[in-house]
Symmetry: C2
Subunit: 458 residues, 2 copies
């Protein structure tokens, strides 16, 4: 067992919750490529973005220069409801692995949304309220983002219209009811409430929907309804900015207790958690003040970093959203029915994509059954039933710790435990019943997705 | 909003987690009545109890004299996984109620079992392991206790056989899968694995089971299987002893921040949470050192304190368990399909029953729809989706705070938020859909239950 002299769980004091977000773009030499207007293929200004997003969020989206952005007091107050989140020393996992490594995890699941998504949801709701809006629209796949947005809107008295991928709507009635308890209106997507939904239903009558389609519906409603804007839970620069609270708290706890991480690991779907967790550490790395081995973990079934192409692509399948330069599998790529719903996105945050392209981080992929084996071990040793998404990071952390056992290295590993798996028990049941299978797309599968990437030359 | 100068969430330091349990019986002038042997109707000794329970737990069950019982180091280590639990200042709820009252809640739901049940589960598993046993049997209704026991057994490498009331087994597959993920064997009750189960199935082929029957099955397996004992999650003196960690931490936090509670509120099914929360405060009251208004809240549909009889009764429907002197509705009382599964027990902790009979606490009952209205308000203001059981305490706390608004009194109210409602969304859905109904048993309903109370004259 590790000899590092820290409490099992490190809770910072309330006054150590960050008062500013850290904007990693300020420290990047190569800035992330700008979003492009899908009509003109020209970089989008705040004016271009403002029919879709709140004004202040558009400015945050485009702000590549300010290193620190103050967190408004109302958001700080809300953060106190569930933050600071604990940085936990995984002593029981270390013991089970018989490793000389020191393993820590930043746990973001101790709130009713069940994940880190609330960190950005409350910010986006706040700016909508401040702008005098009536409500917001959004989409949700696995349900964490929708739940977080419902909670945030309820707090500020905003309407919240959630388009939930139909298969999730039907398979996850619990998630739906949490959102309704917080006053949200939840519509299965595709629906007959939008043009894009009606078109899709006409073309594919039995479809169970996709995240790309739900995004298109939510955006259509936002831009066509007075007093509404659209909000998104990942990929965007503003989301990574808000999620920097994860990394800032982690850094404060490390500094306070003399923990010096060698390896920092996060699961990566759209990049919101990973981008938030690594932000201040990446800042040090970009400024040449420290070095860290930073690892993104993605599912082998949806491998945008490890097998995707760095190119401009649409963020949605309905082609109503801006184009982003990112590692992408193509907006027509159909992810397999992998249970980590939050990691089934075809693209990746432009910020993380640029950092990855520039060699500041590496990426690995993990297969589903090995991810759940890691989840089971973690649940049994550390007590918390992890989300399938988070369990990708657990898998990689365990693999690194096993390497340390073999080499004798006493590395310090920090990973992000983004959320709990309380609503993912259908997947756990498959694992328990040994009926879970793995899926790795063939090169031919990927080629089909790549074919949908537009030819944009900027 | 309250002006008391405390953090929103009070987290004690790791070294402030209790190192001893507090045994309130030591301070009671009138001790709780002893358990009776169902065959001889004589008080049971540790020897009588030891075929059913672990040896050391039998001694704890009968120990009416030692005020403090040391918590073994292994249990303290496990407690560090999820304790100390936060004492939260409900500033957002206070604001919504516009009350001068100061409201605090001790939140026990931030662990995967989702409730306070883990506090006793880990203790019972530890003593089973220490005695060299192979495994334990138990029953579960709503599923919290079974989940907690599965987690605790997994930690110590014990087998865990859970009899789950059939209706819950079918309606709560998620709960079942969490238990399986922790390695427990979950059997729907009644089952054909026991005599009592087979008998019941023959008599009532379509039955969906009851907690009383599941207890009988679990006890039968424990006493007839080499190396097994039975464990119970409520009612027993030993359980209240272990749960005193809730109250001890609450008291430490109050003392540290100068919080002086006037009213202490807990929901009451078998009494495990309420008995634990109030323990050290009740001790002060018994010793004449302080006075508190202590309130038990029970569902109007299962009103053992407010409408039951203080008498000896069987703890189970199969009549294999000892008799306990308690407030009871009769072991044949059939609770209505109230959604607070954890509060559907016909009896009440003998310790709490004696304290209630002696006037040291009072009891109120609440109807289901008003409980869920309180739950919804709490979820929207304080962020956490509460368990239906816990929401009974929320209801009473809100009612007390509203009284303070009317009288202008600045009372300090503490209540126990025992757990989360993440697996209770079927009930929330009924509330959201406005299809939820209330049920209050008629006097005739109660008389039927009372008729099953045996005539025991000690």
């Amino acid at each position: 067992m590790s000899t590092q002299n820290t409490p099992y769980k490190i809770y910072l004091e309330e006054n150590e919750i960050p008062k500013v977000w850290y904007n990693v773009r300020a420290d990047m030499k190569n800035k992330p490529a700008p979003l492009l207007n899908p009509g003109t293929l020209q970089p989008m200004s705040a004016d271009d973005l403002s029919p879709v997003f709140c004004r202040e969020l558009c400015e945050q989206e485009l702000n590549n220069t300010d290193r620190e952005i103050p967190i408004p007091q109302e958001i700080q107050d809300f953060y106190k409801m569930y933050r600071p989140s604990p940085l936990t020393h995984a002593v029981f996992l270390e013991k089970a692995l018989d490793t000389p490594a020191h393993i820590y995890y930043k746990f973001e699941g101790n709130n009713t949304s069940g994940s880190h998504k609330l960190n950005s949801a409350i910010a986006q709701a706040y700016y909508a309220k401040k702008q005098g809006l009536k409500g917001i629209t959004t989409e949700t796949g696995a349900g964490q983002w929708g739940t977080a947005m419902a909670m945030a809107c309820s707090f500020f008295g905003l309407d919240c219209k959630v388009y939930m991928v139909k298969v999730s709507y039907e398979q996850k009635p619990f998630r739906r009811e949490v959102m309704r308890t917080y006053g949200a209106e939840v519509t299965p997507s595709p629906s007959d409430t939008t043009q894009v939904g009606r078109k899709l239903l006409a073309e594919h009558p039995g479809t169970t929907g996709s995240l790309g389609c739900a995004i298109s519906e939510a955006v259509e409603v936002a831009v066509s309804t007075e007093g509404y804007r659209y909000v998104l839970g990942s990929v965007l620069n503003q989301v990574l900015l808000h999620q920097s609270v994860i990394g800032l708290e982690t850094k404060t706890a490390c500094d306070k207790y003399g923990i010096k991480p060698d390896v920092i690991i996060g699961c990566a779907g759209g990049g919101s958690n990973l981008g938030g967790l690594i932000a201040p550490f990446m800042g040090e790395k970009l400024r040449g003040e420290a070095d860290y081995d930073i690892i993104a973990v993605e599912p082998a079934s949806c491998p945008s970093f490890t097998r995707g192409i760095y190119a401009y692509d649409f963020c949605d399948t309905g082609l109503v959203c801006p184009l982003a330069k990112m590692y992408t599998l193509g907006h027509d790529f159909i992810p397999s029915p992998n249970h980590a719903g939050g990691l089934r996105y075809h693209g990746m945050s432009p910020v993380l994509s640029q950092l990855y392209a520039d060699g500041y981080m590496r990426a690995v992929s993990a297969e589903q059954t090995s991810v759940f084996a890691a989840a089971e071990l973690f649940a049994r040793t550390e007590g918390t039933l992890p989300a399938p998404e988070s369990s990708h990071a657990i898998r990689a952390a365990i693999d690194e710790a096993i390497k340390c056992r073999e080499t004798g290295e006493e590395k310090t590993i920090i990973f992000g435990l983004t959320g709990t798996g309380y609503y993912d028990l259908v997947a756990y049941q498959q694992f328990n019943d040994k009926t879970m299978t793995d899926y790795i797309p063939t090169d031919a599968d990927l080629e089909k997705g790549f074919a949908s990437i537009p030819k944009v030359d900027l």
